[in-house]
């Protein structure tokens, strides 16, 4: 036999032995090994599509002038009111339409009851009722500047800077002021539900774990197929994790977690993307159907387990602190922070939507969205919060989202997982 032949022969034997070892490794021995070793992770490549592209169907606005959770860009607030005089002249009828216009970043009615403004329905109550503002003794200049940029009167305001951030022109703000001056009597609501102070808070009563009620439950089955799906390398999740119901009984409730190899907090979705890549080779990037199905499944396996994350290590404490700071950062053209809606205005209505406390906003993710016929994980939820307040979103694996998710999870400690959720 030639030297090349011998080399080929021994290589073939080595492969056969390696193959046999892989077969032997499957089963409980691999399970034990998997439990003791550090989980392999892809650390070089990104866990999401590069470059990140906003989801199809989401508003495509350029918000580069404004803060994101990743960088600062917003111009500083004005330091003094603009001197516009007290003879503001405007078209009150047009003003009444503008305050109800949902295309102008939500409109005033998102937060304020305003009498019969624009005949619109379901005003919010995140901010004071302005139905009698015309009798409140405010000057035209004060009213103009409050709409133009409320920060000159209240630096802690959650009100968007409608003028200085370009939502309304000066003539339009004049129209709004003219309309406000006509508001001199309490609102008369068309229906009982229209009064946000009497509207009952929504309660989710659907059985989220019933596959007939919640289409997201089909992802649990899909994930089990993926679990057993052998990649090109011949391995599947099942190769090392043949008893997921036992192995992952509480794992998802311990996430997200600081990952020293990547210097960031990893949530379940990013962990799945990186771990699959590094083991079976499967390319299950974040925000793909496969990744979401596996995230649903891994959370589902830990249903009933109370959220119990690491909050005591130095890295976790630092990440939580960063998350807390991020949750208070004003972002986007609407200039809002997480803590504006889910803090200052929590348990109030924004138009027809209820704003919840952070506690209770995490234990049901990933969730089915009935209005979209789609499963959303927590990262996509973060992204929509940003885009909706006219800020650019970050890629789903952004380290800032990791810090924010850890901070959110810390506020949900003790709540029991119930995944997939079902929501509007």
């Amino acid at each position: 036999m030639t030297r090349a032949g011998m080399w080929a022969g021994s290589a073939a034997i080595a492969l056969i032995v390696a193959g046999a070892f892989a077969v032997v490794a499957a089963g409980s021995r691999a399970n034990a090994q998997a439990n003791k070793r550090e989980a392999p992770l892809e650390t070089k490549d990104a866990a999401s599509v590069q470059p990140w592209k906003r989801y199809a169907g989401w508003p495509a606005r350029d918000e580069s002038k404004y803060n994101t959770l990743g960088h600062l860009a917003t111009a500083p607030a004005p330091t003094a009111p603009r001197p516009v005089g007290n003879q503001v002249i405007g078209d009150a009828a047009n003003g009444g339409k503008l305050v109800a216009d949902r295309n102008r970043g939500g409109s005033c009615l998102a937060c304020h009851v305003m009498g019969q403004a624009g005949n619109a329905d379901l005003p919010g109550n995140a901010a004071p009722d302005l139905s009698e503002i015309g009798n409140a003794g405010r000057t035209d200049e004060w009213l103009f500047n409050y709409v133009y940029d409320a920060r000159v009167y209240n630096p802690e305001t959650i009100m968007p800077p409608w003028g200085s951030h370009g939502f309304f022109t000066d003539p339009e703000i004049n129209d709004i002021v003219a309309f406000l001056k006509t508001l001199k009597s309490p609102a008369v609501f068309k229906t009982a539900l229209d009064d946000p102070n009497k509207r009952p808070a929504p309660v989710e009563k659907r059985d989220n774990l019933d596959a007939i009620e919640n289409p997201a439950m089909w992802a649990v089955e899909k994930a089990q197929e993926l679990w057993n799906l052998k990649s090109a390398s011949g391995f599947s999740c099942n190769t090392c994790h043949s008893e997921p119901q036992a192995t992952f009984k509480t794992w998802a409730a311990s996430m997200p977690k600081w990952e020293p190899r990547l210097d960031k907090v990893l949530g379940v979705e990013e962990f799945v993307a990186r771990h699959a890549k590094a083991t079976t080779g499967a390319a299950w990037l974040m925000e793909t159907d496969e990744n979401r199905a596996l995230s649903v499944y891994l959370h589902f396996l830990a249903n009933g387990a109370p959220i119990a994350i690491d909050t005591s290590s130095a890295e976790a404490k630092a990440a939580i602190e960063r998350g807390k700071v991020l949750s208070a950062r004003k972002v986007g053209q609407l200039n809002m922070a997480c803590t504006d809606c889910h803090g200052k205005a929590a348990n109030h209505w924004i138009r027809g939507q209820w704003l919840g406390d952070p506690k209770g906003q995490y234990d049901h993710f990933p969730t089915w969205r009935t209005s979209l016929l789609a499963i959303w994980d927590i990262r996509q939820r973060f992204q929509w919060c940003q885009v909706n307040i006219r800020a650019d979103e970050l890629p789903p694996d952004a380290k800032e989202y990791g810090d924010l998710e850890l901070y959110l999870a810390a506020q949900n400690e003790g709540l029991k997982l119930s995944v997939p959720g079902i929501r509007h």
């Binding site: 596959a211 007939i212 289409p215 089909w218 016929l373």
Partner: protein, 107 residues
């Protein structure tokens, strides 16, 4: 249509019981009214017929029109007098028929 239908009905019942049967067929139910982002109409593709039989005899059927939303959910009652097999079928516009069966023991 690679999805499987979801069914919920009792496995056992007493003779003469009226049982509730819940069925869900994962399906996009494209109405034929929507347009894509280039303005072209997305062609209609719906489940247009559902049938339920028990031991070969018809129990319930429905003709579905485009107004029915995605993942059509149909719930109905049936009176059971004997043990046997329910057979359900869903027919797609393209002619495909998906069927499913469930046995019930009636004492």
């Amino acid at each position: 249509m690679a999805e499987k239908p979801r069914l919920k009905l009792p496995k056992e019942a007493k003779k003469g019981d009226v049982i509730e049967i819940k069925t869900l067929m994962p399906h996009i139910m494209e109405s034929g009214q929507r347009k894509d982002k280039d303005g072209k109409t997305i062609p209609r593709k719906i489940i247009n017929k559902f049938t339920a039989e028990f031991n070969g005899k018809p129990v319930f059927s429905a003709n579905l029109d485009p107004a029915i939303a995605a993942n059509p959910y149909l719930q109905f009652s049936a009176k059971v007098e004997e043990s046997g097999t329910f057979k359900f079928t869903w027919t797609d516009d393209d002619g495909t028929v998906i069927s499913a069966e469930e046995k019930i023991t009636v004492s």
